[in-house]
Amino acid sequence: MRWLEATVAETVPETARTVTLRLDVGDWRGHRAGQHVDVRLTAEDGYAAQRSYSIASPPGADRVELTVERIDDGEVSPWLTTDADVGDQFELRGPIGGWFVWDGDDTTPVLLVGGGSGVVPLMAMLRHHAASGSTAAMHLVYSARTLGDVIYRQGLEALASPHRAVTLTLTRESSPDWGGHRGRVDADLLADLGWPPSVRPHCYVCGPTPFVEVVADALVGLGHEPARVRTERFGPTGG
């Protein structure tokens, strides 16, 4: 798999800490919802750093979109979220990963559980669900710290439909105006919002490693088959 040339066509702030980069990528062969790319930045003196980012855009979109969360002492995300301007270039390798993908070629219900920036590949799945007219029931459970940390807030509202549900749970929102769920994703919430194990839904869990461990364990504890629970761990800070 070779390194391709990516050029920033547009930057879209999503939250105070996250930015979506819309890219033109030379020789891009297309991708599946849930896949990611490796991004490599090289300095003038040859120093290079590399990180992985999930693709936010659905298959078939005009441009490859990455949504990047700024990690303050990071190597790559500060450049991508703060320094990268329209016309800037970097290298990108992908699409990568055939495991954490949803193609939408069956009508099995799909439970998506995302923590923080773990929502990015799940958003690609939601967008693909909408664009392909899939009739599979899909439910995204998305945990963020505060309302201001919810990535794609308007986009998620626009995508929500009877068979494409979105439930937010906020862990540190102090405003009394928030009438939605509060607290971490746990077995009770998953049992409430998901499907019984007998339905054999596809489950996709993504986010910081501790979040993924807790949620995956909870799903298996509820009786979901481990083989039906696909996970992607972002490490300690979620990207």
Binding site: L41, A43, Y47, E75, V76, W79, D83, D88, F90
Partner: protein
């Protein structure tokens, strides 16, 4: 030639000439590198053992015994094979000279072994002569678990992968035995000033 990204520098600072070994960059933070999970070590279960070349236990200290040994403060520069260097780091530890005092051995090599299974090998003489410590303090505080606490080996004249985190002892050996990274491509000795990073360096 890879595409250069305008303005990208990364986290490093440029070193002054002669301050760091070739190919290294200075960093402001203290990167955490690890080949596995941070072990959960209880001090009441901790010991440090020296196993000699016959396989016998030549010396052993519990945490209390270890902390009663004479310790010293040292300020050293450290160099990681992943290219970052930190100058003037302050450590507190027991000199390996002290630990090997009274150990009768003809061995020329040592393997440091750690909780979690990590190992690294060195010539025994590189652990002597005031060049190595078992360190329990960093910058005036207890050494944090993610940086190798309660105690790690500190051998600053070699690349920092030789300064085994969560060290639990030294096994003295007549033959050299490549450790965790030395057995999969990293240089057997690892002198940063001669840029001995990999097998073929």
């Amino acid at each position: 030639m890879p595409i250069v990204s305008r303005g990208f520098q990364g986290r490093r600072r440029q070193p002054g000439a002669g301050l760091v070994p070739p190919g290294q960059y200075l960093v402001d933070d203290f990167p955490v590198l690890s080949a596995g999970p941070t072990p959960d070590i209880r001090l009441e279960d901790w010991d440090f053992t020296i196993v000699d070349e016959t396989g016998g236990v030549a010396a052993r200290w519990t945490w209390q015994e270890f902390r009663s040994l004479p310790a010293e403060e040292v300020t050293v520069d450290i160099h990681c094979v992943t290219k970052w260097s930190k100058l003037g780091t302050r450590w507190e530890g027991v000199a390996v000279d002290t630990l090997l005092e009274g150990v009768d051995t003809a061995a020329e090599f040592a393997v440091a072994f750690s909780d979690g299974g990590y190992t690294t090998n060195l010539p025994l003489e590189d652990l002597l002569g005031g060049r190595a410590w078992v360190a329990f303090g960093f910058e005036g505080e207890d050494l944090e678990p993610e940086h190798g606490g309660p105690a790690r080996l500190l051998v600053p004249h070699l690349y920092f992968w030789k300064s085994a985190k969560w060290v639990r002892g030294l096994r003295l050996a007549e033959q050299d035995e490549p450790g965790f990274w030395e057995s999969v491509g990293y240089h057997n000795y690892g002198d940063p000033w001669r840029e001995q990073r990999y097998w073929d360096d």
